[in-house]
């Protein structure tokens, strides 16, 4: 099938199997490698992207659902010259260790802050608990989300 949708602000049209998950459409179809594969069953959150502004697991969205939607991936969240506040906070707080889950963590955190400008630790835990980090960067994720929230409010 031809899937016609927007990725990071640019219109894309791609011929893919209709059951192909967005994760593989992005990675193998469009060469956008920032979105990571971790589990394939929405248990780890490594493939989190925004679909029409909402955080979704790209492994659970099929190509047939893509027509007309707007997708934002980590590559489109900020630019190297103008990072998203969440990305800035992630660097300042030195969150990443291996870094593999962090695209998903950052996309989930950006979505959280779009809905809640001043989340408590409990709010952060509730929203971010779908994103696994095997390196255990969680304390710094909490700190960075608070720091990003402050940046976005000011």
């Amino acid at each position: 099938m031809k899937a016609k949708f927007t990725v990071n602000g640019a219109g894309r049209e791609i011929d893919v199997p209709e059951d192909m998950p967005l994760l593989w459409v992005l990675r193998d179809g469009l060469g956008l490698m920032g979105t990571k594969y971790g589990c394939g069953i929405a248990q780890c959150g490594a493939c989190t992207v925004h679909m029409d502004g909402i955080a979704v697991r790209a492994c659970q969205v099929e190509a047939r659902e893509l027509n007309g939607v707007e997708i934002t991936t980590i590559e489109g969240l900020g630019t190297p010259d103008s990072l998203h506040p969440v990305q800035e906070a992630w660097i300042e707080r030195q969150v990443a260790q291996c870094g593999y889950c962090q695209s998903g963590q950052i996309m989930q955190a950006a979505s959280l802050l779009a809905m809640n400008s001043d989340p408590s630790d409990e709010d952060i835990d509730a929203v971010m608990s779908g994103n696994l980090c095997r390196c255990g960067t969680y304390p710094r994720i909490r700190e960075a989300v608070h720091a990003a929230a402050e940046k976005m409010r000011s």
Partner: protein
């Protein structure tokens, strides 16, 4: 089909620190220069010291890029950043001009000095220990040669040239960037004497504000892992492994799969079937259509419950081998006023790194086989890859990638994923590069787990509450038996089975530590902190039992036994003091503490928890660590935080279950690492030290389990002797 040799001629010497003399070597590279070392011929092991075209330690190019070529593998623990710090410090580089790439293919350059230097590899948290002198010296040598080049170019004395922030400067002659002098520096004589900076001169080593050089790439999606390798025409494969360990392919039918769009081929590798597709999804869909019959005549068919039941029987027997014997433990215990005994059980654990195992293989036009992957023991993988490709090791080039976690899983005796990638690429006639990308179920069921263990400890106390005798028996599989690391076994004792138990810092007058190695066909492996994942739990919870029987405070009881272990005692005191040990905890909370040395780093932790019904909540952990000189203080904190999270997840809820020889857990739905909502607040205190640096990747893990279990006893009166805790509390 082709077979791998059962055992490779690649036995590592016993792990002991050595220092080897070095002669310096330098080479011109395009537009710049490289600094490396040749081993002193008198001490080099010539058989291993094959020449390699693949690099040195530091390369400086005309565009001012300083690239550190790392002997050490980075799975997230920050070893690349540590080596970059050592080089930048001595070189006088700007932090933002530093990059790091993985080196391989030359054990003479990259051999791990903590292992005797004969082979390259990362493990046992040795990266900083092995690199401390080597990479500082490399940075200093490069600086001296740049200075010599500038002195010649400007016709001024070298002593008048200063180096800072990536610039060479002279009061009257001016200034130059490193890149401007790099080509000339390559022609300079090699310095014969290299003085390193004094600690008081350091600006990067020990700097708590130094940020990881790779933070930006790991935050904007541009950091490349093996899963992200893209090569022209590359195909992607997923695996079908035998459902039971030790089984082999009898026959398979791939006709239906090969008729599916995007499926290229289904090929047999020495480890199972590779379903090769034009892309990942095609391979995954194709896999569903393959049917296979397996020869299970040599397969392990026991489940984890049956295996543990056998361990329970074995633990009551005398140990098969003795790891430590001091005095007469049996007599001392027989004559004791009080005897305390406990048995413990530990499940199999999966590494379950977020990036499932993968490797990419291709043969270039020059006949060189290239393999991209998380090559944690590169020389071994290079050799095995050459066997699979039926070529010689010099025709194999490894590209060492940083990986999305590892925790031990990327250092395997049989080079599993490398074998699969090379075999798959070869099976299609090398016509395209092949990326073998394990799915999560490939990874969870792919073997190499932290072994299951049973422990029994018995000790005697005299009337005054002093320990008179100590007997500890461990039953489980050997991690190194039957593989290239088998040489580590001495007198029937695999040291990785008993580390953390056989050489305790506590003064124990009569002690016997025994090991019974069980023969089980489930493949096992080192898992972040290896033996101490289970020994520290048994020892440190048992010490609390003894302290209670002796009527003493757990802290005081330990300190009284640590008279000859000042670094152990110091971290324990520090953690206890910072946690307010001896003062009342906040309402509803209790504390537990534990101490563990692993890989020559010393860590103590105090856990503050509450228990509500069967639910344990760990609120706060105070951690003290002594790892010698703190090269990257913020990374030490990060590794302690992460180690605590990793260890806490495991002891609370991780358990890999086998039924009838088949792994039941296929994903994170039933195998459940820690999530953010269970992560405690963590406070890390680093002991100031002038001792040579030791590792931090693993040592944060061992104390958290016993610290939490000791706190659970304080809260509930229930001793946790079987893991995971959540299951034990339900029982």
């Amino acid at each position: 089909m082709f077979a791998l040799p059962g055992k490779l001629n690649f036995v590592l010497p016993a792990i002991k620190p050595t220092r080897r003399g070095f002669l310096l070597g330098a080479a011109a590279v395009a537009g710049g220069f490289s600094v490396g070392f040749r081993p002193d011929p008198a001490s080099a092991q010539s058989a291993d010291a094959q020449a390699s075209p693949f690099g040195a330690y530091v390369t400086i190019t005309g565009d001012d890029q300083v690239t550190v070529i790392s002997s050490q593998f980075d799975m997230g623990q920050g070893s690349y950043n540590g080596l970059a710090t050592l080089v930048a410090e001595e070189l006088g580089a700007r932090w933002d001009q530093i990059d790091v790439v993985g080196g391989a293919g030359n054990p003479a350059l990259y051999g791990n000095l903590a292992w005797g230097g004969a082979a390259q590899g990362s493990g046992g948290s040795t990266s900083m220990f092995s690199s401390w002198d080597r990479y500082r010296t490399a940075g200093a040598a490069a600086r001296l040669m740049l200075v010599a080049a500038a002195a010649e170019a400007w016709d001024v004395p070298a002593e008048e040239i200063t180096v800072a922030d990536g610039m060479l400067s002279h009061a009257t002659a001016g200034a130059a960037r490193f890149g401007e002098m790099a080509a000339r520096a390559a022609e300079m004589p090699i310095p014969s004497e290299i003085a390193l900076k004094e600690p008081g001169e350091w600006t990067m080593i020990g700097n708590p504000d130094l940020r990881r050089y790779d933070s930006a790439a790991k935050t904007n999606g541009t950091h490349d892992f093996t899963i992200d390798v893209k090569l022209p025409g590359m195909l992607t494969a997923v695996m079908i492994h035998p459902p039971k360990f030790g089984a082999t392919v009898k026959s398979f039918d791939a006709e239906a799969a090969k008729a599916m769009p995007g499926v290229v081929d289904v090929v047999e590798t020495p480890r199972g079937l590779a379903v090769i597709g034009e892309h990942m999804w095609a391979a995954m869909k194709g896999r569903e259509a393959v049917t296979a019959d397996w020869d299970e005549s040599a397969a392990e068919t026991r489940g984890s419950e049956e295996i543990l039941a056998e361990y329970r029987a074995l633990i009551a027997e005398p140990p098969a081998a003795i790891a430590r014997q001091e005095g007469d433990s049996a007599g001392a215990i027989a004559g004791a006023a009080k005897v305390i005994a406990a048995e413990y059980e530990f499940p199999y654990l999966a590494h379950a790194a977020l990036e499932p195992l993968n490797a990419v293989a291709r043969m270039g036009e020059d006949g060189v086989v290239e393999v991209w992957g998380g090559h944690q023991v590169p020389d071994l993988y290079q050799f095995i890859a050459s066997q699979v490709a039926e070529t010689t090791p010099d025709k194999v080039r490894l590209h060492v990638m940083k990986t999305g976690g590892g925790f031990g899983r990327r250092a395997v005796a049989d080079a599993d994923i490398v074998v699969e990638a090379v075999a798959a690429a070869r099976a299609i006639g090398w016509r395209a590069p092949v990326k073998v990308q394990w799915t999560r179920d490939n990874d969870m069921r792919g073997g190499r787990y932290r072994p299951a263990y049973a422990h029994a400890i018995r000790a005697g106390l005299d009337d005054a509450g002093n320990i008179t005798g100590w007997e500890h028996h461990i039953v489980g599989q050997s991690i190194v038996a039957g593989g290239p690391f088998e040489g580590l076994i001495q007198n029937g004792v695999d040291p990785t089975s008993v580390e953390g138990a056989s050489h305790l810092p506590y003064a124990l007058p009569n002690q016997t530590v025994g090991l019974t190695t069980a023969n089980v066909g489930v493949p096992v492996l080192w898992w972040r902190s290896v033996g101490s994942t289970h020994t520290a739990f048994a020892v440190e919870t048992f010490l609390d039992e003894l302290a209670e029987a002796a009527g003493k405070d757990p802290l005081e009881f330990r300190l009284a036994l640590l008279g000859n272990a000042p670094r152990h005692a110091a971290v324990l005191r520090l953690a206890a003091e910072k946690a307010g040990w001896g003062t009342p905890p906040p309402e509803g909370r209790v504390r537990g503490l534990a101490l563990a040395e692993s890989f020559s780093s010393y860590v103590a932790q105090v856990a503050e928890i509450s228990v509500d019904g069967g639910n344990v909540r760990v609120h706060k952990v105070v951690c003290a660590v002594d790892c010698g000189i703190a090269v990257n203080p913020d990374n030490i904190r990060a590794q302690m935080e992460g180690g605590i999270g990793f260890g806490l997840g495991a002891i609370m809820a991780e358990e890999l279950t086998l039924v009838g020889g088949e792994v039941q857990d296929t994903n994170y739905d039933t195998y459940t690492p820690l999530r953010i909502d269970a992560m405690p607040e963590i406070e890390v205190h680093i002991v100031a030290s002038g001792e040579p640096p030791t590792g931090v990747g693993e040592p944060g893990v061992p104390p958290i389990g016993p610290a939490v279990a000791n706190a659970i006893y304080a809260a509930t009166g229930k001793r946790v002797r079987r893991l995971p805790i959540e299951k034990a509390l339900r029982a």
